[in-house]
Assembly symmetry: C2
Homo-oligomer: 239 residues x 2
DNA sequence: TAGTGGTCTAGACCACGTG
DNA sequence: ACGTGGTCTAGACCACTAT
């Protein structure tokens, strides 16, 4: 079975760059060398390098080679599609999740429109506080389509919903449309978030889709503004 | 000359999807059909489809086909690496840029560190107000390395620096590291931005690099919080 | 079983940067 | 001139979905 050789190459090189086994500013071995070393065709090597380039590990320069970039300044990407649990476990700090609410609801009119739901589709509603050092700095509200997620427990919510969905239910979470705005704190924010002098809350609203392009989740993640930070690597597209 | 057939295919299909010539929910023609229609090999078609997928136009489903996604909900991406001028000209509304300051500076200690500059490298400093309906809602401060940009005029800054860099100087802007935070208004914000009750400003700091992986720009873009909106399409990476 | 996308290959030719 | 990456090709085999 052809099993994603290009990913192995990507991961191996990405690790070496992160761990500075390959130093920023240096050149990667030429593609022909990598072909030999990994015993693969050139297109396969190039797939791996394209991924490294997209994710900010290298800059390819025609006629010269692949320059390794300094990747240290943007660890901790809230960019992309990553669950809180995955971020927290890679973090130095001690995070804690508190489940405030876990109920089944009939979606009201507006929610049905936003999520494009049928009449009889019910939703899980989960409200969770993300705490650090005794303070609640993130308040997450998730709505999950019950057709896709028939069973959900407080225990799962305290641990990681995404882990449960992917490893237990074998759902394939695929993509999301996200929107970030800054708003005044709502009543719920005032109730759950530890707001000091903060007068603003950063709100990330996401529509999350499965593998088969089916919507299964709407999330509203509300961050205390002073604890919010979004880091991103962007390439200029010449289309 | 092999001149990016896959980009032509990408652009043609992307346009059809944006203009709803191909409707969301439908399937794209199979790859084999596209090979015939465009008279290209399958890998070339697949490069175009991979781009469409990355940019949120389609979802590929193995054994089934490429489902067209609803692309309407996220026009106006501040995501990626796009200049204000490019956004403004695609907008319905009437934007205006005012150049508040255009000077050459010797970078102070901290700036030299952040931008990793040599002792003798000077910078252009440009401060610009972005106005809409008589209100200044964005305040941009750019620092440009003079080695890369020897000449800069108020006229260029009022129009579009990026346009000048790419089309006149033929610099190839390639990638950026960006960071978004929410902060209290600074003295300069209070002077230039039209702040009503706003107590927060969204700050986007970017390090921008050329083609050859050389840093040439640092930008601080400060947005009135109520006018800020960031829209993004993200794929979950299974690496 | 037929048709779709997913991965890989071996080879070709072109464009760019360096010596 | 040489070595590098950039693009494209024609073909192979596998995995998944539909019927």
């Amino acid at each position: 079975m052809h099993e994603k050789k290009f990913l192995n190459i990507y991961n191996e090189l990405a690790l070496k760059i992160r761990e500075k086994t390959i130093v920023a500013g240096e050149l990667l071995p030429p593609e022909s060398d990598l072909c030999e070393r990994y015993q693969v065709s050139r297109e396969t090597v190039r797939k791996a390098l394209a991924l490294l380039s997209r994710n900010g590990y290298i800059q390819k320069i025609q006629g010269k080679g692949s320059v390794v970039l300094d990747v240290s300044r943007f660890e901790f990407p809230i960019s992309g599609l990553t669950s809180f649990h995955e971020l927290a476990t890679h973090s130095e700090e001690e995070w804690q999740t508190v489940v405030n609410q876990l109920v089944v609801i009939k979606p009201y009119q507006k929610m049905r429109q936003v999520m494009n739901l049928k009449e009889n589709q019910n939703l899980w509603k989960v409200i969770r506080s993300r705490m650090i050092g005794g303070e609640t700095v993130i308040l997450d509200t998730d709505y999950l389509v019950m057709d896709s997620v028939p069973i959900l427990t407080e225990d799962i919510c305290r641990n990681s919903i995404y882990d449960y969905l992917e490893n237990e239910l074998h759902l394939k979470i695929s993509f999301a449309k996200k929107q970030i705005t800054v708003e005044s704190p709502s009543e719920e924010d005032k109730r759950y978030l530890t707001l000091s002098n903060e007068t603003s809350v950063v709100v990330i609203r996401s529509l999350v889709y499965l593998d088969n392009a089916q919507l299964f989740q709407f999330t509203e993640s509300r961050h205390r503004a002073d604890k919010f930070r979004f880091v991103d690597f962007a390439r200029r597209e010449h289309l």
